[in-house]
Amino acid sequence: MTTPTQKSSNILARLFALFSSFGLATSVLILLLFVTYVGTLEQVEHGLYESQKKYFESLFIWSIDLGACLRAMSINSTFGHVPVLLPGGFLLMTVLGLNMVCGAVIRMRKGWRTAGVLIAHLSIIFMILAGAIEFFFKKDGNMPLFEGQSSDEFQSYHERVIEIEQVDPPLADGKRLSLVIPQNHFLDLAPDGTTGKARTFSHASLPFDLVLRNYQENCEPKRADGSESREVVDGYYLQPKTPNPTAEQNIDGIYATVKDKKGGAAQEGILWGISAAVSTQPLPWTVKLEGKTYAIDIGRQRWKLPFAVRLDKFERELHPGTERARKFTSFITKLVDKHEEKKIITMNEPLRDQGFVLFQASFNMEQRGSGAVKQSVFAVVENPTDHWPLYACVAAGIGLGLHFFMMLGRFVGRQRKTANA
């Protein structure tokens, strides 16, 4: 008769045997292959961002858009979403990492003969760990700058926020501070009928509560003519638009109500994401209450850089005789405190500093008066594991190379023995 201790030991042993098994590794890798294939097909219609969230950053996959997958393979199809239950990319990679640790490191025979393989396995675990850290801690976005403009902030591609800033009177210390409502607090406020689901937000420093409702992922304010059934505020309503597969191009909007905490009249407004995207002239909704003025707006989450960047000059080279860009080059000044440093950011030559990387992403031209003003757009990434995949690949190469030459040496040795025998 087994004791409880023996029972728990048995259970743990079985779990360890499961997680260290070659069969589990094979199953996970096959599933990863399938998920990668289907996710790549589906992203043609649904966009990279949506597919990434659904297939590669999820614990489970609940459906597959079979029609989209078939159409991506040039097969006409009217199929829709097919319900499934599959492990998502995040879960698969977690299991794979656990499997590598249990089977490829702990359980593996260790000796000088398996040193190379052990190094290779450890480097793969290192790469999986890099992916996990990147998933939780990476920040990426962009920073558009006109020539002559300076900035020390970059904005997320996808993360939305609603911000409330008291602009008048300004804060005593001269700083500008905003209250931030993160997107996971309002993305679910989808339209429902004419008024939609609502949520109230409050802060001790505000003389009002902010009620948000009717969030729309991609929309456009339209002037009301009295015939619409949608909620109209100040002569406008939000017209929903089909979400763009390129998620960054969606312009979201939401209805907002400011309610005086002392029971005064409510003020209604619409927040529209384009206002915050006009980088030189943000156009928030202005609310006045108790002698104070507040700016309320919806936009992208912003993060601060430990240095500022001023775009001195932007140059665009074209392939001769074409309008195709050959090279974009931004001549910038990096500003830290009062110290200035001239730098150049161009394609394949980013600026790396203090854990941040600024890549030359694209450019815009904006007509102003009689001339055009150039705007350079930098992709900004803060990734603690920026070079870890490179290190992992080098280590894996060393490990595999070591193992290969050791095996080669043993093989040659055996051949010689056989020949001499």
């Binding site: 728990s8 607090h185 949520r199 409050s202 505000l206 529209w272 928030p284 003025t293 601060k304 500022a308």
Partner: protein, 212 residues
């Protein structure tokens, strides 16, 4: 030995559960380099509703001119940038119009006016000999025609003993017309006023035109 249990602790992350009423807990210090917001913008401005913005703004005329003494001014219309009346019964009219491009061509326009006065068309050679007068700093063709003015109507409705005075300035980008019609005697008496008005017309300077 007491059984040792490995307790698998699944530490759930502090769930940021959404509720109907929530306290704002996140703040952000806005960079000193960030652009200041434009306050009190109307919904039309915030939503880039150009038609509504234009309706909100008082329109500034692109031209400046002097109304001769005794003449009256009517509101501008889409076709008539300046619309003036004179005479005891406002039977005399003088207006300025501008059309993009050659607007049909110099000859066609001159002869159109002549047709309105019940007169025959001039040849290109005859048009070339018409007198010139300055208008807004450039040369323009001066047209003077006496006849029965039918305007846009037919010959049956033509008003007899009318005079037409006009200036046409033709340029590739824009053609400007100043046309004065009325009873012959009235027009004759107001010819100096016509010259004064034509001499006063000029473009409003760029800095005077508000930028939207």
């Amino acid at each position: 030995m007491k059984p040792r249990y490995l307790v698998l602790l699944v530490v759930l992350p502090a769930c940021d559960r959404v509720q109907p009423r929530m306290e704002i807990t996140h703040t952000r210090e806005i960079s000193a380099l960030a652009p200041k917001p434009t306050l009190n913008a109307t919904s039309a401005t915030r939503f880039f509703d150009n038609a509504a913005q234009d309706a909100e703004q008082p329109k500034e005329h692109p031209l400046l001119w002097t109304v001769p003494a005794g003449w009256k001014e009517n509101p501008a219309t889409q076709m008539r940038l300046v619309d003036l009346r004179f005479g005891p019964g406002d039977e005399g009219e003088c207006y300025l119009a501008a059309l993009p491009g050659p607007a049909g061509g110099l000859s066609a326009n001159i002869n159109r006016w002549r047709t309105q006065m019940g007169l025959g068309a001039l040849s290109d050679e005859e048009i070339g000999k018409l007198p010139r007068k300055p208008l807004m700093g450039s040369e323009s063709y001066f047209v003077s025609a006496d006849g029965a003015f039918q305007g846009m109507g037919d010959a049956a409705s033509a008003k007899k003993d009318y005079r037409l005075l006009g200036l046409i300035q033709a340029a590739p980008e824009l053609t400007i017309f100043i046309k004065m019609t009325g009873p012959k005697a009235l027009v004759e008496a107001n010819q100096a006023a016509f010259d004064t008005f034509c001499g006063s017309v000029q473009f409003r300077k760029k800095q005077d035109i508000p930028m939207h």
